[in-house]
Assembly symmetry: C2
Homo-oligomer: 324 residues x 2
């Protein structure tokens, strides 16, 4: 199948590229490549096509959509903390360009769009594991616009007949999570430990999150490749709630460096608790088991603490500004 | 209480003004007044304050918010049919200016915002009466943005502590419904009958709507004045489903003019069926009963078929472009 992966050089996107390539699909990655190098997919060079473009540029996007069967849309310009005090960022940088993409995909006869939504923000405060039948009550601009984008996908399905899958992902973590962004507490803590800084712990025993290993996420998202002619909304979390205090204990067990920390009350933008019941999705993978958090925090730590291999060798750039 | 009513000269707004005045509140109406006259509130002259302004103009809006306790936000630039093929109209003309309003209201220390949402479009296809616990699945840009606006109100409540009430209104009808807009089948049919045109019937026995008389709507929305310090989401419909074919029969009984009609299959943008369970709201009004559809269609017809009284005498305009 011909798959276009928008934001395919990023954290979730690049892991999904690895999955799609291993299944033998024809993969194109659309991303910014500001330094004309691939950050995360050097090892796929020669096996996939790279397109360097701007998501907001209609021509860049239109060209990349030609002849594609499925589009995975991993581009997200914000994180929940960034837009907490400025809702308009979400509308301008995420909602509008996503709707433009959906319109273009319809006009290019793409069969299906896959959208990673946010299990951690669309549901709002919940006090037990939620499945997809729960009423979403997003309380942050980030979650509101994720949910509105889901609804616009349902509209395009109704209006234009394009298929769509939506994955409401928990708190993904693992190798390649960007350390610069204030998103993903596991990556942020590891960054601060490596820098010798005190890590900041917001919340208590009741501040539960559903941490899910990135390779579990990317594997389960291959479901859309197996069912191109249907549509669905799926939770994608481990189903286990881990408190922020328990996470700190795991760090203290696993990390082989001294950990300084400070515990704060939860911030207003943090939901009290979110745990996702993903039975609907996992039912499609009878042999699948979620990885253990302790094991994969250890693996993630080993990734981050090693000096990065020389990933940044320049790739050659073709005539159209694309990597080859 | 000091109440600002945005779009107060319109259909729902002006009926609410009548309610608020009859309860003795201090009422200000903000609207466009493009002809420097009030379309629907001439009879309130001297009892209320008129402000002529543009909703998109931040200064106009800011001035009108000074010192207000509660804001009723009846301004809506679109209808479901208009934005069915152009989702961006909803984002530009409704979502963005509404968020601007909420930000301004917070900065002006308004205590509560009241927002009329759309029971007919936020829930999506439903096959039995829905209450407020149902999962909303809006399928039109109009409904998607109504729901996103609700969520942004919840966000401002969480983020800034402002109170809000949301009314998910069924299909309101009655005097003052604008005949020019393609919204409100009862008004549209009456207009076409008066013009001697064939009326267009989209749907069948299973195309149910929850028609609710405008004075029932405006009366029930006074609930927000009784509870300024709390917030809530309320359905506001009669709880009775009327098929489009039954509506045609009522017209044939009530209307004293010949009716030509043509029956079509339902349009894609029409949901199959929507009936609202409004028990949560009605519980606050123990003696309240919804008016009979047959009676109020008769009353509405009598309103529309009479020549309009001379409403259009020019009101004097003050220095700041306001009516006095």
């Amino acid at each position: 199948m011909k798959i276009l992966i928008l934001g395919g050089d990023g954290f979730i996107g690049s892991h999904f590229v690895d999955q799609a390539v291993s299944l033998g699909h024809d993969v194109t990655v659309f991303d910014r490549f500001p330094y004309e190098v691939s950050m995360n997919l050097e090892h796929q060079r020669g096996k996939i096509r790279f397109i360097s473009g701007e998501f907001a540029n209609r021509d860049d996007l239109a060209k990349s959509l030609d002849g594609q069967d499925i589009v995975y849309h991993f581009i997200c310009a914000t994180n929940p903390a960034e837009s907490w005090n400025d809702p308009f960022i979400e509308i301008e940088d995420n909602l509008r360009p996503s709707i433009k993409l959906f319109e273009l995909a319809v006009s290019k006869r793409v069969k299906k769009i896959v959208f990673p939504s946010s299990g951690g923000t669309v549901y709002g405060p919940q006090y037990k594991p939620v499945d997809e039948k729960a009423v979403p009550i997003p309380l942050s601009p980030y979650g509101i616009v994720k949910l509105a984008t889901e609804h616009f996908l349902l509209y395009f399905q109704e209006h234009s007949g394009i298929q769509m899958d939506i994955y409401r992902i928990g708190n993904p973590y693992g190798p390649r999570q960007p350390l610069k962004r204030a998103q993903g507490v596991i990556a942020v803590w590891m960054r601060d430990i490596l820098r010798g800084l005190e890590i900041q712990v917001y919340g208590d025993q009741n501040t539960l999150r559903d941490y899910v290993y990135i390779k579990d996420v990317s594997y389960l998202m291959t479901h859309s490749l197996n069912s191109p002619a249907s549509s669905g909304i799926y939770n994608l979390g481990s189903g286990a709630g881990t408190s922020i205090i328990r996470l700190l204990e795991i760090f203290q067990t696993v990390i082989d460096m001294p950990i300084k920390y400070r515990i704060h009350p939860k911030r207003q933008l943090d939901n009290t608790s979110i745990v996702l019941d993903s039975s609907k999705l996992v039912a499609h993978f009878p042999c699948f088991e979620f990885k253990r958090l302790e094991d994969k925090i250890f693996e993630t730590w080993n990734y981050f603490k090693l000096p990065r291999p020389k990933l940044y060798r320049k790739l050659s750039v073709g005539k159209k500004g694309n990597l080859s």
